[in-house]
Amino acid sequence: MREIRTLIVDDSSVMRKIVERSLRQAGLDSLVVFEAGSGTDGLDVLRAEAVDLIVSDINMPSMDGLEFLRQIRAQNLAPGVPVVMITTESSEEHVKQAILSGAQGYIRKPFTAEQVKERVLPLVNAA
């Protein structure tokens, strides 16, 4: 099974652990996880490491998830790497903004491991 190098961006360390656990429960056993507590830190990770998947919160202090996404695209970091947003924001408008900013997937908190599997695995397999 190939290694899936994954960047998880969330200001909550607890949520980063929950996301990692959910990804493993979804079948991504061979995860190599990089954690970042903000969009700014996430960009630093992407400048230093190649990743296969990015999972990011939206509501974060200093640089939120949407700006993080825009910066990834503007700086051409991680081209072609799927990005999944995991957030409490659930309206169509928020989903639209995330997609327009470059996200390929969107998961609303609270979530189940099954939802993570349904929305993340196809992206990883297609990449």
Binding site: T88, P110, F111
Partner: protein, 186 residues
């Protein structure tokens, strides 16, 4: 002061999402759906959903007051946009430690940064789930990042909100309170 701070942050988030205050006033009125916004069943459903999905436990509303503990943890998540106010989660130390343990799979002996982080996330998810029950709120109300307070024998005072929901819930043998404070509705 605290609530003003989280409200300002939530409003800023709403504005960054492309909705300025004027636009919200012009295009959306929650006043027409105030009964839906203040429906207590929305809060109960949100709490049950968050606890079932994220902690794997059943959680039910109860009528008796929460067990008082000197040490408690409070998470405040501000609302900004068409509704201004806050979602407040408050529990004694015992329930907070249990919530953190269920979320992380770790055991905790006292309230530390991880426990406060977990309680902040619970507050965030409750606020998000609650506003998601009302379409106008889901689209036009922003959330602040959580502010978490821990300590002994403190009170949170709110001046005459427009409406307030205050419920007590129980899971396993622990209880906690959730309060939705609305001090402005457009």
């Amino acid at each position: 002061m605290l609530l003003n701070g989280v409200r300002t942050a939530a409003l800023a988030r709403s504005q960054r999402a492309g909705k300025d205050e004027t636009e919200c006033v012009m295009t959306v009125s929650l006043r027409e759906s105030v009964q839906l916004v203040s429906d207590p069943r929305n809060l109960d459903a949100s709490v049950e959903e968050v606890f079932q999905l994220m902690l794997g436990v059943d959680c039910k509303r109860e009528c008796s007051p929460p067990v008082h503990e000197a040490e408690s943890v409070t998470a405040v998540v501000g609302f900004g946009g068409v509704l201004s106010g806050a979602c407040v989660f408050r529990s004694g130390a015992r329930a907070a430690l249990r919530v953190a343990a269920l979320m992380t799979g770790m055991e905790f002996n006292g309230i530390d940064d991880t426990v406060m982080d977990a309680i902040g996330e619970i507050g965030n998810m409750l606020a998000g789930a609650w506003k998601g029950k009302v379409p106008n709120l889901a689209a036009n109300c922003g959330l602040s990042v959580p502010a978490v307070i821990s300590g002994r024998d403190y009170n949170l005072h709110v001046q005459a909100p427009e409406f307030q929901l205050h419920h007590v819930y129980r899971f396993e043998d622990a209880s906690f309170e959730v309060t939705i404070i609305c001090d402005g509705l457009q």
